[in-house]
C-alpha cells in the first residue's frame, strides 16, 4: 500500500506539486491521470525517494520514506519516466544487474526472471544486446528489470509512452496481471482511454493539485456524464495536454 500525504515540491518559483494526497491500495490499479506537466512524474519521484518533498509524507506499507528510504525502495518496483537500458549489455544482463543490486541470490534471480520472461513474452530477446531494440522491447526489458525483486508495490510511469498499438495492447494487460497477484499498482498516464479502461481508482492531477480521486463510476456520477473522457475534461477544466 502506498500513502501520499500532502506532498509539496517547488523548483524555484514553480510549484510542481502543491498538496498531493492519495492512497493506492493492494489488489487495485490506481491510475494517476493528468495532462503533461501536471506534476505526475515529480509526485512519483518523491514516492520512490529520488527527490525529497519540501513538505508532506510518503508511506509505503507503513514505512516512512523520509526515515528509511532503502526499505521503501526495496518494497517498490519502479518503471520511471527515464527508462534507459545499458545498450552494450543483453536484456538478461540488464535484468540480472538490478536483481543483484536488490541483493538477490542468482537462483532467486533466475527463477523470477524466468517468470517475467514468460509473462512479458520476451523469450526471443532475452539474450540479445539491447542496442537496436524497438520501444516495446525496451519497455519490456525495463519492466522486467524493475520487477525482478517481486515487489509488493509497482509504479509504472507512463508505461505505454511511445509504444505502437500492438505493444500498447500487450502493455495494458500486464498491470491487470500484477493486480490479480494482489499487488498495489500505481499507473500514471496522460491517456484518458487507457486510464478509464484499466484502473479501479482514478486520481486526477492538474497544476500540482489532486482535483478528483474516485472510482470510474463515481467520477461519471460526479461529472454528470456517461462518458468518462468527458468527465475528465470537465474535472480538469480543459483537454490540453491530454490524449484520448
Amino acid at each position: 500500500m502506498i500513502e501520499l500525504k500532502d506532498l509539496h515540491k517547488a523548483f524555484g518559483a514553480v510549484k510542481a506539486v502543491d498538496g498531493v494526497s492519495f492512497t493506492a491500495r493492494d489488489g487495485e490499479i490506481t491510475g494517476l491521470l493528468g495532462p503533461n506537466g501536471a506534476g505526475k512524474t515529480t509526485t512519483l519521484r518523491m514516492l520512490y525517494t529520488l527527490m525529497k518533498p519540501d513538505r508532506g509524507q510518503v508511506l509505503v506499507d507503513g514505512i516512512d520514506a523520509a526515515i528509511d528510504p532503502l526499505a521503501v525502495r526495496r518494497r517498490l518496483g519502479v518503471l520511471p519516466d527515464a527508462r534507459g537500458l545499458y545498450k552494450r549489455l543483453t536484456s538478461r544482463e540488464n535484468i540480472d544487474y538490478f536483481g543483484r543490486l536488490q541483493g538477490m541470490t542468482q537462483a532467486a534471480i533466475d527463477a523470477r526472471r524466468h517468470a517475467l520472461v514468460e509473462a512479458l513474452d520476451m523469450g526471443e530477446i532475452i539474450d540479445r544486446r539491447t542496442e537496436g531494440f524497438s520501444q516495446g522491447q525496451r519497455v519490456k526489458t525495463a519492466i522486467a528489470r524493475a520487477l525482478i525483486h517481486d515487489p509488493r508495490n509497482c509504479i509504472l510511469d507512463e508505461p505505454t509512452n511511445g509504444l505502437d498499438v500492438m505493444a500498447t495492447r500487450a502493455m495494458r494487460e500486464f498491470p491487470r496481471r500484477l493486480r490479480d497477484e494482489g499487488r498495489c499498482v500505481l499507473f500514471s498516464s496522460h491517456i484518458m482511454q487507457e486510464v478509464a479502461a484499466l484502473c479501479d481508482r482514478i486520481v486526477v492531477i492538474a497544476h500540482g493539485h489532486v482535483v478528483a480521486n474516485a472510482t470510474p463510476d463515481e467520477l461519471r456520477a460526479q461529472a454528470g456524464s456517461d462518458n468518462l473522457e468527458d468527465a475528465f475534461v470537465k474535472i480538469i477544466g480543459s483537454a490540453e495536454g491530454l490524449a484520448a
Binding site: 529520488l50 525502495r73 544487474y97 543490486l101
Partner: protein
C-alpha cells in the same frame, strides 16, 4: 561491498564491450606515447651521431687567402664547398648551416704575426646547425692553438707559458642521470596515461548514464548512492591503472630500442621501477578518477563532460612545466603535493637516484588523503537531487 562489486563488474563488462573505449584507453593512450618517444629520440640521436662522424661540409669564402688553414681543416674532416652568392642570406634562409669567410687581410695579418680574423657566419637560433658550428669552431681553435705553440717554441719559450690554468672535467652525473635528463618528460607521460585511461569511464558512468536515462532507474534500487559511486570509481580506476601498467611495460620495452649506450647513459625501467611507480601512482589514479567523475557529474551532457575532462588533462602538465622553467632542487615537501610528488619520485627513480622510503610514504599518504577528500566531495555531489535527472 557486494553492491560495489556488482557495479564494478557491470561497468567493466559494459566498457570492455565498447571497442572505441578499449582502443582509446588501452591501446592508443599508453602505446602511442612510448612509440613516438622512441622514434623521436632515435631520430635525434642517430642524426647527432651521424654528424659527428661524417665530413663536415663548410662553404668557404676566400679560401685562397689561407691555403694552410684550409689544408688543415681538410685534414680535420672538413669538406670545402663553393660559397653561396649571399652567405648571410643563405644562412638566414637555412640553405646552409654556416659559412666561413676568410678576408683578404688574413694573409697579411698572419705573416705579421698579428691576430688574423676569420668570420663564422651562422644563426644561433638554428639549433639544427649548432653541432656543425661548434665542430668548426673547435677545429679553428685547435688550429690556432697549434700555431701559437709552434710560434712560442720557435722563440725558445716553454709552451706552458700560454697555459697558466688547466681545467680537468670530473663529471659527477651517473650514466643513469644523463639518461634521466633526456627522459624528463616521462613522468608526465605516465600521469597522462592515467588520465586518458580513466576518462572514457568517468564520462560513461556518470554523464553518459544520465544522458542515456539509466541513472534514474539505477537510483531506484535499494542501495546507497555512495556505494554505486564507489563501484563506478573502482571501474574507472581499474581502467586507468591498466592503462598506466601498459604504458610502463611499453616504455620498458621501447627503452631497449633506445641508443642510450651510444650516449653513455642507462635507464632503469625494470621491475623495481614498475613496482614503485605503480605504488606512488595508485592513490593518484584514484584521485584522478574521482576528479574526472566529479567534473562529469557537473556536466549537463556527455559532450560537456568531454570538454571538462579534456581541460583537466592540462593539470598534470603544470608541475612538469613549473619544474622545467624553475629547476629547483628536489625537496621533501614536494612529495606531499599530489602530481608533483609523483613527478619528482618517478624522475628520481628513472635517473637511478635513491628515493627514501619515508619520502615515498609521504607521497603515497598525501595523495591518498587528497583522493579521499575528492571522493568525499564527489559522493556529496552524487547525493544531490539534480544528478539523476536528465533535463
Amino acid at each position: 561491498m557486494k553492491t560495489m562489486l556488482t557495479v564494478f563488474l557491470k561497468e567493466v563488462r559494459e566498457n570492455i564491450r565498447d571497442r572505441r573505449t578499449v582502443l582509446n584507453t588501452l591501446l592508443t593512450g599508453p602505446l602511442l606515447a612510448p612509440l613516438m618517444f622512441v622514434l623521436l629520440i632515435n631520430g635525434i640521436v642517430a642524426r647527432e651521431l651521424d654528424k659527428a662522424e661524417k665530413p663536415l661540409p663548410v662553404p668557404v669564402i676566400g679560401a685562397e687567402h689561407a691555403p694552410q688553414l684550409v689544408e688543415a681543416l681538410k685534414q680535420m674532416g672538413v669538406d670545402i664547398k663553393e660559397p653561396p652568392a649571399d652567405p648571410e642570406l643563405a644562412v638566414r634562409e637555412q640553405e646552409v648551416d654556416l659559412v666561413l669567410r676568410i678576408p683578404a687581410s688574413y694573409a697579411q695579418a698572419w705573416r705579421k704575426g698579428e691576430p688574423a680574423q676569420v668570420e663564422l657566419i651562422h644563426d644561433q637560433s638554428q639549433r639544427e646547425a649548432g653541432s656543425s658550428v661548434s665542430r668548426l669552431r673547435g677545429m679553428l681553435e685547435s688550429y690556432g692553438e697549434r700555431t701559437a705553440l709552434m710560434r712560442i717554441v720557435a722563440r725558445g719559450l716553454s709552451p706552458n707559458v700560454t697555459r697558466p690554468l688547466v681545467i680537468a672535467n670530473r663529471d659527477q652525473s651517473t650514466a643513469q642521470a644523463r639518461g634521466g635528463m633526456m627522459f624528463a618528460m616521462l613522468p608526465y607521460f605516465f600521469i597522462l596515461g592515467a588520465f586518458i585511461g580513466g576518462m572514457a569511464l568517468a564520462i560513461d558512468t556518470t554523464a553518459g548514464e544520465r544522458e542515456r536515462q539509466s541513472l534514474e532507474p539505477l537510483f531506484a534500487n535499494p542501495v546507497p548512492r555512495s556505494q554505486l559511486l564507489l563501484g563506478k570509481l573502482g571501474a574507472t580506476s581499474a581502467f586507468s591503472l591498466t592503462a598506466l601498467m601498459l604504458s610502463i611495460v611499453a616504455f620498458s620495452i621501447s627503452g631497449q630500442f633506445l641508443p642510450t649506450g651510444k650516449l653513455g647513459m642507462s635507464l632503469s625501467i625494470g621491475l623495481d621501477f614498475a613496482v614503485v611507480t605503480m605504488l606512488v601512482m595508485l592513490p593518484l589514479v584514484v584521485l584522478v578518477a574521482a576528479l574526472q567523475t566529479l567534473a562529469a557529474a557537473f556536466a549537463k551532457s556527455f559532450r560537456e563532460a568531454q570538454t571538462y575532462l579534456s581541460l583537466l588533462m592540462f593539470v598534470p602538465a603544470v608541475p612538469s612545466l613549473l619544474m622545467s622553467v624553475f629547476p629547483v632542487k628536489t625537496q621533501t615537501w614536494m612529495y606531499a603535493v599530489p602530481l608533483m610528488g609523483q613527478q619528482v619520485a618517478i624522475t628520481r627513480l628513472l635517473r637511478g637516484d635513491p628515493v627514501a622510503s619515508n619520502e615515498l610514504l609521504l607521497c603515497f599518504a598525501a595523495s591518498t588523503v587528497a583522493a579521499l577528500v575528492i571522493c568525499f566531495i564527489t559522493a556529496r555531489v552524487y547525493r544531490s537531487e539534480r544528478l539523476a535527472i536528465s533535463a
